[in-house]
């Protein structure tokens, strides 16, 4: 293992490719189910009363939180795959690893922010 490889694996979501692979698929199914539900709701006539009533129910709050956590994990893994392919020393020169770490950190912080935001939206 070179230094660059170590940096690569330490910023992956679950440290191993196999569990990242599985997490990516499980979260994709949760997100697909959630977006299908939202799309189905928006297809019908939505007003403020029916919309808030939906999000007041416990199962919808839990489902929304699950979708937010899935989005965070799924995006982390997806962006990591993209970053480790293109934001590298071979593609960008000596600063490649630094640029990748900065991008990964920024993306991770944004995703944590997304989850906190969803918790605030749904539980307040």
């Amino acid at each position: 293992m070179g230094g660059s490889d170590m940096v690569t694996s330490v910023t992956s979501f679950s440290r191993t490719g196999l569990s990242d692979w599985l997490i990516q698929r499980v979260t994709s199914i949760i997100l697909l189910a959630y977006f299908l539900l939202i799309a189905y709701q928006l297809m019908g006539s939505v007003d403020y009363t029916s919309w808030t009533k939906l999000f007041e129910q416990t199962w919808m709050k839990v489902f929304t939180l699950m979708a937010a956590l899935s989005l965070a994990a799924h995006s982390w893994i997806g962006l990591w795959s993209v970053f480790t392919d293109y934001l590298t020393e071979r593609m960008l020169g000596p600063k490649g690893n630094t640029i990748r770490l900065v991008c990964q950190l920024a993306a991770s912080l944004a995703l944590v922010g997304y989850v906190i935001w969803v918790v605030v939206i749904v539980w307040s």
């Binding site: 698929r25 997806g78 962006l79 071979r90 993306a107 997304y114 939206i121």
Partner: protein, 128 residues
Amino acid sequence: MRPTSKDTRPVNLDLGTIQLPVTAYASIAHRVTGVLMFFASFLLLWALDRSLASEDSFDALVAVLSSPVAKLLMWGIASALTYHALAGVKHLVMDAGVGETMRGGVVGARIVFVAALAAAVSWGVAIW
């Protein structure tokens, strides 16, 4: 090109000089739409926040979303998400052992592109 410590073979990743198969375009589009959804999630969360905060903010959101720019954005996000989801389902199908051959990959990529195009047209009809 700067060689890495482990591998000093030359690498050509100048995409402009490489003839890419349809599977490569499907893969690149999956990545591009994925990155787009990361940014679009901010707008979606903002809309969710506005839609639930109060009846006034709900009405204000409805007004904002009826503008031409907002409709174009919604269409773009819906189309990108649909492509990303369809390409994701294709992965799950291939994980199940269906269409893993070179021929299967090409057919799968074409199906995803056609279905995503049809979905984008449908979103356009629904939004405008």
